[in-house]
């Protein structure tokens, strides 16, 4: 929900519980997986308690009809009964856990659909968008940051850094609105509402892909720019720090070409801290696009969560929590493992 949701100004490495062990990757992996379990349980428990203690209820959450019925106390009680909200929280949690254990997340209060179905429909666009934006961001960030770092102090470097700080300071929804007005309306280059065209169902595979990309360009740009603006100075500074390392100077002294030093020694050492940051960025980007999804009428996860919260659609909220926790913890886990693979010091230290 932050501008781009980056609460990770100065990332620190993940705990490395294996610092004093000798057993390598597998042991490390096992330990990491075991450690995510309490975190996972904590997230789910916290969400459950918070949503059930929060004021408001599904009975009062939906916008009513035309005043005939509205929200009345009698209706309210019937709804509470219907949604099984009469039982104490502990009992409800127990019931919920039992059902989830059988992979049944229940039915949405809002439209009666099974939660899993409702979520999956909305999750895949967000997931695909998020991960492609991250890949695109990296493709932009690494060369730009490398160029800036290698020409540190030069005019272009200053322009790049200035542009990054400037871009980061623009709230995404302002940027989004400008994009809609300029690129969407005035230039009419890209559609600015929805994810698919009306005739999407009649298209062939390739056309569908183009259609999806077309519809995701503007919202993607809005997610992309703060990410790039945040990552470029970060990678640039990391790279400068690596460039000052002894081994880089030593590599030059050994007569290696500039190209080889940069690609074989500087870049790999730059990417490791970047990897850690990526682990923090994924959850931020995943959950941080509510405003944009509303603005672009984009059927994503953020909007679903927002709507579910407003409607107090507890089963969907819980399902979303479980899913986002799984994604976030999974990404963190992958990042940690990749980190361990990339850095022998973590693995064997």
């Amino acid at each position: 929900m932050t501008s781009c949701g980056l609460d990770c100004r100065t990332p620190t490495p993940h705990d490395n519980p294996l610092q004093h062990r000798q057993n390598g990757v597998w042991h490390y992996l096992l330990k990491r997986i075991l450690l995510t379990i309490p975190t996972f349980v904590g997230i789910v428990l916290l969400t459950f308690v918070v949503i059930h203690l929060a004021p408001g209820s599904p009975a009062t959450g939906t916008v009513g009809g035309f005043g005939e019925s509205g929200v009345s106390a009698a209706n309210h009680d019937r709804l509470r009964e219907h949604f099984e909200l009469d039982a104490p929280v502990t009992k409800r949690f127990g019931r919920w856990i039992m059902r989830v254990a059988c992979f049944d997340f229940g039915q949405s209060f809002a439209d009666g659909q099974p939660v899993s179905k409702r979520i999956i429909e909305r999750v895949y666009p967000t997931l695909i968008l998020t991960f492609s934006i991250i890949v695109i961001a990296l493709l932009i960030v690494i060369p730009v940051a490398a160029y800036a770092a290698l020409n540190a102090g030069g005019f272009v470097d200053k322009v790049i850094l200035g542009a990054c700080v400037g871009l980061y300071a623009i709230p995404p929804y302002v940027f989004g609105m400008l994009l809609i007005l300029v690129v969407g309306v005035a230039l009419d280059w890209f559609p600015f509402s929805g994810l698919t065209s009306e005739d999407h169902a009649q298209m062939n595979g390739w056309q569908r892909l183009v259609d999806l990309i077309n519809h995701s360009v503007l919202i993607g740009a809005c997610i992309l720019y703060p990410l790039v603006a945040y990552l470029v100075p970060f990678v640039r500074a990391t790279m400068l720090a690596v460039l000052k390392e002894d081994f880089v100077r030593a590599a030059f002294a050994r007569g290696l070409s500039r190209r080889r030093v940069i690609f074989r020694h500087v870049l790999p050492n730059t990417l490791r801290p970047l990897l850690t940051v990526m682990g923090l960025i994924v959850p931020a980007v995943l959950g941080g696009s509510v405003v944009l999804e509303v603005m672009f009428s984009w059927p994503g996860m953020g909007r679903l969560l927002y709507e579910s919260i407003l409607q107090r659609d507890y089963p969907v909220i819980m399902g979303m929590t479980v899913l986002s926790a799984v994604i976030v913890l999974g990404v963190t886990l992958i990042v940690d493992v990749l980190y361990a693979l990339a850095d022998p010091r973590v693995r064997y230290a």
Partner: protein
């Protein structure tokens, strides 16, 4: 037995004298130009209609269900008349009427205790199963079944004590009481028995099992359209059911696009992505004045039975608000002209009344509002709330209790904080401290249900029958309705109970007029403005009718819309003139 149709006609004459005809004086919007083509009714000559056309509508959010028994939101209601046929419908004046495509005859007994409905023969569900009286009886049973969460459909239907199929074409209704509202009570939705009966054996709630969910999302309806696509969070596509036996609607396809944000929707409208949308007051007054909009469509304004009001917690712990004089003083300090001008761009009309003018025999000058700070100050002084010499706020009889209250607002509304800002400034001058609390919708409702508030700002849309207002004012509604403020007045209760039993429309109007006067005396609510329907239509849309609930929620609604076969050039006068008109 007399003919119900005849009775309804006479009633109509009195109750809907004004109807949707509303002369808006001093609109501040400029000259009214004609956009009559929007209202051009569907021509008899079908060759003029483009029957293969697609209509694109805007949805603010997704519907909860397509099962009419379960439907309850205004969004759901947009689909009701398209997917389902009912024997009775609300016409463009929100008048009860018979759906001639379904009903052969409807007769009501003289004592108002019994009614008989004869269906047309040859009615079919969309899967070609015949629609019979058994379906109606089944639907009635389901609606009254405690396990079915029929939030809206149950309302009124409870008055039908018995519903039986005399033969496949004929249904008999027996009412609990002889009420003026009984005609509404038979207007309940009808679902296919052959689909839901097998489902209900395992899932009596109609929405728990996977099969029920499927049936609710891909319904077998009886109306002219069927659901062909539902892309979650994006769009719902309805296609014309060619087997429909009633009048064939003009559009082959209706695409409902989900666009939550108002600004985004207007941009989509101007880009040609949608053909209609409701406009916010600002959008109507400002954003749509340019050429960009004029090229795409027209905006129209019609009457709507929606009133903005502040509810004062009469029965609450705050002595300040339980005093009628104080509430009257607060009512006097509402600067309606300024609110109208600054918040609603002069588009709304000031309102003091609770019923649409058409319901009551009201004098024209009774509904004029008063803004009188001096008078308010005097009332407060009389009530013992005097300005303190120490800090300038009012206190009761020199005591500690400060004159003030918290006004609850719903988060996300663009207009209510603006109304509150104006009221706050005026109350400050009076020495009354008003603070606002913006609450998220669900919490707002919860506080209201629990009667835990000082005052709240909300809107109320009157139903087609004035008896609906009992929900706001009757003492029964304190626990079972929306009388959140705890207003208790035995005289009002008695009048409501009389009104619902009075079958003579003229006498009925008198009763509701009396109720209105009593309520204005007690001022448990202060009515602020009456909202109009503000709508934008693409140039190609024709056949729109405006009901007091907007163009979508009355019969025939979208069914009657059409578009000419050859796109007619828009004449220059229309282009250059302001593309805005009032309802004809």
């Amino acid at each position: 037995m007399c003919s119900a149709r005849k009775r309804m006609k006479s009633k109509l004459r009195i109750m809907h004298v004004v109807g949707v005809l509303l002369a808006v004086v001093d609109s501040g919007i400029g000259p009214v130009s004609a956009a009559d083509h929007v209202f051009e009714p569907i021509p008899a000559n079908r060759s003029m209609i483009d029957e293969g056309a697609t209509l694109r509508c805007r949805l603010r959010s997704e519907p909860s269900s397509f099962n009419p028994v379960l439907m309850f939101t205004a969004i759901d209601a947009q689909f009701d008349y398209l997917l389902w046929d009912r024997p009775f419908v609300l016409d463009e004046n929100l008048k009860w009427s018979i759906n001639s495509a379904v009903v052969e005859s409807f007769e009501c007994s003289d004592d108002h205790r019994e009614a008989t409905l004869v269906l047309k023969s040859g009615l079919r569900w969309q899967d070609d199963t015949p629609l019979t009286a058994a379906d109606i009886v089944f639907s009635w049973q389901r609606i009254l079944d405690d396990q079915v969460l029929a939030r809206k459909a149950r309302h009124g239907t409870e008055q039908v004590s018995k519903c039986e199929a005399v033969n496949p074409q004929r249904v008999r209704f027996i009412f609990k009481e002889a009420l003026a509202t009984n005609q509404w009570s038979v207007d309940f939705p009808i679902v296919p028995k052959h689909i839901y009966e097998p489902l209900c054996t395992s899932d009596p709630t109609m929405q728990r099992s996977d099969a029920s969910v499927r049936a609710n999302r891909q319904p077998i309806g009886s109306g002219p359209y069927r659901v062909t696509e539902w892309a979650s969070g994006e769009r719902i596509v309805l296609s014309r059911w060619e087997g429909y036996s009633g009048p064939k609607p003009a559009f082959a396809k209706i695409i409902f696009k989900v666009i939550p944000d108002n600004n985004a929707a207007l941009l989509a409208f101007e880009a040609g992505d949608i053909d209609e949308m409701s406009l916010a007051p600002r959008q109507f007054a400002e954003d749509t004045s340019g050429k960009q909009f004029a090229d795409r469509g027209v905006k129209i304004r019609g009457k709507q039975w929606t009133n903005y009001y502040i509810g004062w917690n009469v029965a609450g712990s705050k002595a300040f608000l339980s005093d009628t004089r104080v509430r009257k003083a607060l009512g006097l300090s509402v600067n309606r002209p300024l609110i109208r001008k600054r918040v609603f761009h002069g588009l709304f009309s000031e309102s003091r009344g609770i019923f649409p003018e058409s319901f009551t025999a009201r004098d024209a000058n009774e509904s004029t509002s008063v803004f009188d700070i001096a008078g308010a100050a005097k009332l407060l002084d009389d009530a013992g709330w005097k300005v303190s010499d120490d800090d300038g706020w009012r206190y009761r009889d020199g005591g500690k209790e400060k004159a003030g209250f918290v006004l609850n607002l719903v988060a996300g509304s663009q207009t209510s904080p603006r109304v509150a800002d104006i009221l706050r400034a005026d109350l400050r001058k009076l020495g009354v401290e008003m603070t606002t609390q913006t609450l998220e919708w669900s919490v707002f409702n919860e506080r209201n249900l629990a009667h835990q508030f000082d005052a709240y700002l909300s809107a109320w849309t009157c139903g087609p029958d004035p008896d609906e207002a009992r929900n706001l004012f009757h003492s029964n509604a304190v626990e079972n309705g929306r009388n959140y403020v705890g207003y208790l007045n035995p005289e009002v209760d008695a009048l409501f109970d009389r009104g619902v039993r009075e079958t003579d429309p003229a006498k009925r109007a008198q009763i509701y007029h009396k109720i209105e006067q009593l309520i204005l005396t007690d001022e448990p609510y202060t009515f602020l403005v009456e909202a109009p329907t503000l709508w934008a239509f693409g140039h190609r849309v024709r056949g729109v009718t405006l009901s007091p609930r907007g163009p979508l929620h009355a019969f025939p609604g979208v069914r009657g819309w059409w578009t000419p076969r050859i796109p007619q050039p828009i004449d220059d006068e229309l282009r250059t003139g302001l593309p805005h008109t009032d309802a004809p």
